[in-house]
Structures are given as structure tokens and as C-alpha cells.
């Protein structure tokens, strides 16, 4: 069970967009923005509040890649695997991060809930390929070594 504060926050978000079908995606985005994931209970609640079927809400949430029912780490790292990054060797960057953090294609988030590593199809900074994004900051011209430096620095910030 989520505590009441989650529902209060969700009410606030719903009020901002209005109780209509087209508000579903922005509401889910804001909830995820707040909690770094989309708790299933909240989605059922949203569906009821804005007057759509629960199945519909889940069908939409699972369609879009950005929504996650799994809690994500404090730092969400998206390694770009767009064409430009791919041809400029983004795969070794991803592999270095996976190795360092003990993650894989199946396991995206570290057990201490610090890091989530995902790939993304393009960050729009192709001129600086290969790139990766940590939360909303784009890091340019990555190498496996530079990526590990970033991790080290983020860990340092945490201490």
C-alpha cells in the first residue's frame, strides 16, 4: 500500500490537467516525474478519477516505452544508441556501465536504487556522439572510461 501522500500528490496532478481522457498521458508523465516510476495502484486510481476503464489506462501505459511500473534509480542514465552514436561506438560505453554496475539488458536498476541504465534511440546531440543522458543532463563524446568517471562522480555527490 502506498501512503496517503501519493494519492494527495496524484489529486494535485489530476486537478492540473482535468478529468478527461486526453489527460491520461500527461498525468502519468507527471506522476513518473515525481516518483521516477508509475506505481500501478496510482494508475488504477487515476483511471477511476478521470473516468476511463482501468484496462485502458494500463494498455496505454504499457504501450509507451517511457513508462515504468518498476521503481527506477536516483540517477537514470540513458545511453544513446542512435545511428550516429552507434557508428561512433556507443555499445562499449553501455557495456562498461553494465559491467561496473552489475546490470544487464534484463536488470536495469542497481539494488541500492542509485542507478538505472537504459538505452535511448536518439538524444538529438548527434554532433557530439556518442552521448548519454543522466536525468536531464546530456554528457558528450563518451568513452567507457569517461562513463565510469561520471558514475564515480555521482557516487561522490551522494556521500
Amino acid at each position: 500500500m502506498l501512503d496517503q501522500s501519493y494519492y494527495d500528490k496524484t489529486d494535485e496532478i489530476i486537478a492540473q490537467y482535468g478529468r478527461k481522457e486526453s489527460s491520461l498521458i500527461p498525468i502519468m508523465q507527471d506522476i513518473q516525474g515525481e516518483y521516477r516510476y508509475l506505481p500501478g495502484e496510482l494508475l488504477s486510481y487515476v483511471a477511476k478519477e478521470i473516468g476511463i476503464r482501468e484496462a485502458k489506462a494500463f494498455s496505454v501505459a504499457t504501450f509507451y516505452e517511457n513508462f515504468s511500473f518498476e521503481p527506477k534509480g536516483k540517477y537514470i542514465i540513458k545511453v544513446c544508441d542512435g545511428t550516429a552514436c552507434h557508428v561512433r561506438k556507443s555499445t562499449p560505453v553501455l557495456e562498461a556501465l553494465y559491467k561496473k554496475l552489475g546490470l544487464s539488458k534484463k536488470k536495469h536498476t542497481t539494488d541500492d536504487m542509485m542507478f538505472t541504465v537504459d538505452t535511448v534511440s536518439c538524444l538529438g546531440a548527434c554532433g557530439l556522439a556518442p552521448t548519454m543522458m543522466v536525468n536531464e543532463d546530456v554528457h558528450p563524446a563518451m568513452t567507457p572510461e569517461k562513463a565510469l568517471e561520471v558514475i564515480k562522480k555521482l557516487r561522490g555527490e551522494q556521500l
Binding site: 498521458i25 502519468m28 545511428t83 557508428v87 536518439c122
Partner: protein, 623 residues
């Protein structure tokens, strides 16, 4: 408030006055690329230096020179960021670091002298001004005219640069039909990929005279990997996009506009939101704009990570709050689009062209580009090329001009192999097509599309089969699953491609790929599926021998495909230290101490641990 035509004129006079009062303008590029390399810190440092210095002022004052430090949109030279330009001297500085700020302040801002060491250099020559740098000088910037030259967060700067004059002209001097006709006459074609004439779309929506509601929708869901032109326009000149959409609204009789922006572009969302808020506050958006009957309201929708939402009917479904799945057409978007109402749907770059057409006329627009593809096209130039970044050239410019004259040729040590154009819906152009003009129709002839304009240059180290597999894995993952040809067909094609790069290709695979491709192209429901096989078809056409080598000889000439690599030890370099034996996770390396070691290729899993850790470079890859 700007509630009348006169008020807009007055606002413009003041905005220009304010701009002219600035003795020195320091434009710090704040495009996604330069922000990534740290331009915001440079901006803050330069601003702080100006604020702390008693000899200059960042406020408008009479007795000291006024310096404007501005965050501009993408200046285009992304790889060399952070970029700083100082006006009126027009000095372009590249790779500016924090410690350079003081020198820029002392020498350029205060004394108008250049800091030569920050100039762009090529072949031993330094270039002081953007107009001299071949990369920038050879472009024709229309869509991007303001991008990098104005403060992307200031409506005043946009108005001072002539912004909203097209809107003013349309509202007071033209009927909606005039606007539609002008756009139609200009020959402007959709820049999002299809190249459908914009004027025709607008005419069809305008023709729905008795519709109770119409919409103007902008597709900013630039999902093609390797393309960032639309993002640059949204974050570099958001007002221009909005003005283009408003002209669309006026022309077809719509009072609601929606921009659908990719979730991966947080800066575009922020700048658009700010622009809309500024315009709403002064009445340039809302009811009875400039005192006329024309009302227009803008909304922003963030995408949620589905490439297929770049398809028109999927995009409108997403705005409505549904799964972003395309539907069967007709009815088409112009007849039944968003919420079933007649809808104009174009992409960012297309709308950004409209203010220019209304201001300068269709004939002016037609004078640029080719007869059937008028105007300019923006491209994002990336890959194995010397100058990467955002460019804009007239339609019909050859690939050679783009790659060699503007792009500065390939990176050192690279040889040209192919250019991937049009992303996952496009194809590859090769040496033989270097001198062909790039326009909608000619590129189509070669089995590719201009698409939204991503140009990824590939060199001899790029494996074309792997590239085809890469794109197929992308479209396969992004297939929405609604129609069978796309859902199952792309999956099968991907399996075959994976088999080939994995060293398990079979005779007949190429023909099987072609057969599947033909079926998918002809039967898929939407553009995503129909064009998904194009990267495979075009690489088979141009690089068939590479496919054959993978299948028949189990060789990848570029050493890209891991499964086809063979690791060997050079007996001349190996001293028998035994390090590789220890590192090998599968025990494939044997050899006595102090004698040459050997890799058993049957056991080797090609992880490369031996090569990475050999201190004597004795391990090499044989293809």
C-alpha cells in the same frame, strides 16, 4: 499588452532600440550540444564578469557601454562547442573554457580585440568570422536564420529580428485564402519525410467550411536516430515555429494548436513553454489577436517514447490519450484528424518555413532549391565526418558539396563508404551518387528518402550488414504491433540479419530478405512498416558482396561483427607472459611460460579480453 497592430509596431521599435543600445552582444550557444559541453557555465561566468566590471553594464544605462550576454540557439557547429560569438565584431570562438572568459572579457568585450587562439582553424589557417568559415559560409540559412543569432528565450529579440511581421501581414493584408494560396504557390513540401505539398493539405482543411472545430498540429516527435534538426529549431527559435502554426490556423480557420514534442527533448519543451507563456501574457496568443477576429491557443504534448507516434494518425491518437497506433486511411488527417476534426499536421521545419514565405512571397521561395523541391532543407550532419553539426542548404545541393565543402570531408584516416539518409525509413547513398542533387524525387530514385534529414556518414570501418541489422532492430522494436506484415515481417527480417552477422547465414538469405521486404513494403499499414525494409534493400543493392562475404565466407571485412572475428597471437610479439591465459574466461588460450601462446578458435568466445589486456600488442583480429 500587444493588442493592436500599432502596439506591435511600437513594441518592435522599442525592441530594436533596446537591441541597438547594446554596444556589444555576447552570444553563448545554448543548444543541446553546447549545453552538454558546458556552455551554461560559460554564459554564467561571462555574465558575472560583465556584472562585476564597473566599466560595462548589463543593464541599459547612459554612461557606461551596455553589454548583452545572451543564450542563443544552436549555432550549428556542435562538435566544437561551447561556442561563443561576440557582436558587432563577429568573432566566432570555439571550444571556450571557463578560464578563457576573462580574456574574452578584457580583450574582446571591452576593447574589441580578437582572441586569436579561440578561432576556428583549418589547414593551418585561422578563421575569425562565421562568414569566413567554409562550414557556415556555404550554407543558406532560412529556417535557421534566427537560430544562434537571437536569445531563444526572448520574444523581444524575435520581434526585433522581424518576428511576427508575417502574422501581422496575414491578419491585416491577406485573407485566409490568400495565405493558403501563397503557401501552395511556394511549392513547400513537408519536411518530415513524405514530402507532401503543404499547400494541398491546407487547401483540403480550409475547404471544410462548416466544420465546428479544426486543429493545427505540429509533429515535433523527431524520432529518427541521427536527426536533431527539429529539436534545434524548437529550442533555438521557438517563436518562429509558433508563428508558422498561427499562420496555419488563420489560413485554414483553426483556433487550437498542438505541438507534440519528443520526451527526449526537455530543452525544447522548456523553451516552447516559455515562449507560449510570454505570448499569452502579452496577448499574442489567446482571443482576438491584435484586435482581430482571429483567436489561437497553443498546447504542448510530450511524447512518451514511441517512434510510431511520428506517423500522423498515431500522433493524434496519442494526443487524445490513446495508444499511439496508426489507423487505416482514408479518412485522412485533413478530413478526420485530431478528435475526428479536420486537422493540418506538419512537422517543425515545415511550419518554420511559412513566416518567410508570407513575408517575402512564394516567388522568392521558389527561387531557392529545385523546381519540384523548393526552398532549403536542414540536415544534421554526423558520423565519420570532420565537421558535425546542424546545416541548412538549398534543395538540390549535391552530397559532395555537403560532405566535402561544408562537412570538411571525412575524419582523418577515414575513407568515404556511404551516407545513411532518412534514418530507419531511408537508405544508403554511395560514392556513385555523390554528385546527384539531393531533393525529394532524386533521392527516392535511389531507394532512399530525404526523410527528416539525418545524414550519417560512414567510413570503411562501418559494416553495412550490421547497419542494416541495427535499423531493423530499431523498427522491429518500435513496431506498434497492429498489422501483421510489420509486426511479424520485421521480426523475421531481423532474425535473418542477426543470423548473418552471427556467422550463421545461409545461402538464399539475401533472396529471402528481399522477398520479405517486398511483402512488407506493399502490405504494411503505415509509413513506419512500409519503409522499414528500405535500409536492408538499399544496403543489399549497394553492398551485396558484403552480405555474401558474411554468409559464404563467414567474414566481416570491417571486423565489426564480433562473431566473425578470429583472434590470433602474433608469434613475433608474444613473449609468453601468460597474462592472456589468465584473462581468458573460457580457457581457450594455451602455451608454456616464455613461449608463444595459441588461441583455440573453437573454444574462443571472441570477448576480446586477451587483446585488451596484452601489454605487447601481440593479439590481433583476423577477418
Amino acid at each position: 499588452m500587444i493588442k493592436t497592430r500599432e502596439a506591435l509596431k511600437e513594441y518592435k521599435v522599442n525592441a530594436i532600440k533596446e537591441k541597438d543600445a547594446v554596444r556589444c552582444r555576447v552570444l553563448v550557444c545554448a543548444g543541446t550540444g553546447c549545453v552538454a559541453t558546458g556552455s551554461i557555465k560559460i554564459y554564467e561566468e561571462l555574465k558575472r564578469l560583465c556584472e562585476d566590471d564597473p566599466e560595462v553594464s548589463v543593464e541599459l544605462m547612459d554612461h557606461v557601454p551596455h553589454v548583452g550576454v545572451i543564450k542563443s540557439g544552436c549555432q550549428g557547429f556542435c562538435e566544437l562547442g561551447p561556442l561563443v560569438r561576440v557582436e558587432p565584431y563577429s568573432y566566432q570562438y570555439i571550444k571556450v573554457q571557463l578560464e578563457d572568459c576573462k580574456e574574452i572579457m578584457e580583450r574582446t568585450i571591452k576593447n574589441g580585440e580578437p582572441v586569436e587562439r579561440l578561432f576556428y582553424k583549418m589547414n593551418g589557417e585561422a578563421y575569425a568570422h562565421p562568414a569566413d568559415i567554409p562550414y557556415l559560409a556555404k550554407q543558406t540559412r532560412i529556417t535557421l536564420e534566427n537560430c544562434g543569432n537571437i536569445d531563444a528565450e526572448s520574444m523581444g529579440e524575435y520581434i526585433a529580428a522581424g518576428g511576427f511581421s508575417a502574422l501581422e501581414k496575414a491578419l491585416f493584408e491577406m485573407t485566409p485564402d490568400d495565405v493558403v494560396n501563397e503557401v501552395d504557390k511556394s511549392g513547400l513540401r513537408g519536411r518530415g519525410g513524405g514530402g507532401f505539398p503543404m499547400g494541398r493539405k491546407w487547401k483540403q482543411v480550409a475547404a471544410h467550411k462548416d466544420a465546428d472545430q479544426k486543429y493545427v498540429v505540429c509533429n515535433g516527435d523527431e524520432g529518427d536516430p541521427g536527426a536533431f534538426m527539429d529539436g534545434s529549431v524548437m529550442e533555438g527559435d521557438p517563436y518562429k515555429l509558433i508563428e508558422g502554426m498561427m499562420l496555419g490556423g488563420y489560413a485554414v480557420g483553426a483556433n487550437q494548436g498542438y505541438i507534440y514534442v519528443r520526451a527526449e527533448y526537455p530543452m525544447s519543451v522548456a523553451r516552447l513553454k516559455l515562449a507560449i507563456a510570454q505570448m499569452e501574457e502579452c496577448g499574442l496568443l489567446g482571443d482576438n489577436i491584435l484586435g482581430t477576429d482571429f483567436s489561437f491557443h497553443m498546447h504542448i504534448n510530450r511524447g512518451a517514447g514511441a517512434f510510431v507516434c511520428g506517423e500522423g494518425s498515431a500522433l493524434t491518437a496519442s494526443i487524445e490519450g490513446h495508444r499511439g497506433m496508426p489507423r487505416v486511411k482514408p479518412p485522412r488527417t485533413v478530413d478526420e484528424g485530431l478528435w475526428g476534426k479536420p486537422t493540418v499536421l506538419n512537422n517543425v521545419e515545415t511550419y518554420a518555413n511559412v513566416p518567410g514565405i508570407i513575408n517575402k512571397g512564394a516567388d522568392w521561395f521558389r527561387s531557392i532549391g529545385t523546381e519540384k523541391s523548393t526552398g532549403t532543407k536542414t540536415f544534421s550532419l554526423t558520423g565519420a565526418i570532420e565537421n558535425t553539426g546542424l546545416i541548412e542548404v538549398p534543395m538540390g545541393t549535391t552530397l559532395r558539396e555537403i560532405i566535402y565543402d561544408i562537412g570538411g570531408g571525412l575524419k582523418e584516416g577515414s575513407e568515404f563508404k556511404a551516407v545513411q539518409i532518412g534514418g530507419p525509413s531511408g537508405g544508403c547513398l554511395t560514392e556513385a551518387q555523390l554528385d546527384e542533387p539531393l531533393d525529394f524525387d532524386s533521392v527516392k530514385k535511389f531507394g532512399a528518402i530525404i526523410g527528416s534529414g539525418g545524414l550519417v556518414v560512414m567510413d570503411q570501418n562501418t559494416c553495412m550488414v550490421e547497419v542494416a541489422r541495427f535499423f531493423m532492430s530499431f523498427t522491429q522494436r518500435e513496431s506498434c504491433g497492429k498489422c501483421v506484415p510489420c509486426r511479424e515481417g520485421t521480426k523475421r527480417m531481423l532474425e535473418i540479419l542477426e543470423r548473418i552477422v552471427g556467422g550463421k547465414g545461409e545461402e538464399g538469405d539475401i533472396e529471402l530478405l528481399q522477398e520479405l521486404a517486398d511483402m512488407i513494403c506493399n502490405t504494411a499499414l503505415c509509413g513506419l512498416g512500409k519503409s522499414a525494409p528500405l535500409p536492408v534493400l538499399s544496403t543489399i543493392k549497394a553492398f551485396r558482396e558484403e552480405y555474401e562475404e558474411h554468409i559464404r565466407d563467414k567474414k566481416c571485412r570491417t571486423h565489426t561483427c564480433t562473431a566473425l572475428r578470429e583472434y590470433k597471437i602474433n608469434p613475433e610479439f608474444c613473449i609468453g607472459c601468460g597474462k592472456c591465459t589468465k584473462n581468458c574466461p573460457v580457457g581457450a588460450i594455451t602455451g608454456a611460460r616464455k613461449s608463444v601462446h595459441h588461441i583455440d578458435s573453437g573454444l574462443c568466445i571472441k570477448c576480446g579480453a586477451c587483446k585488451d589486456n596484452c601489454a605487447f600488442d601481440a593479439v590481433y583480429v583476423e577477418a
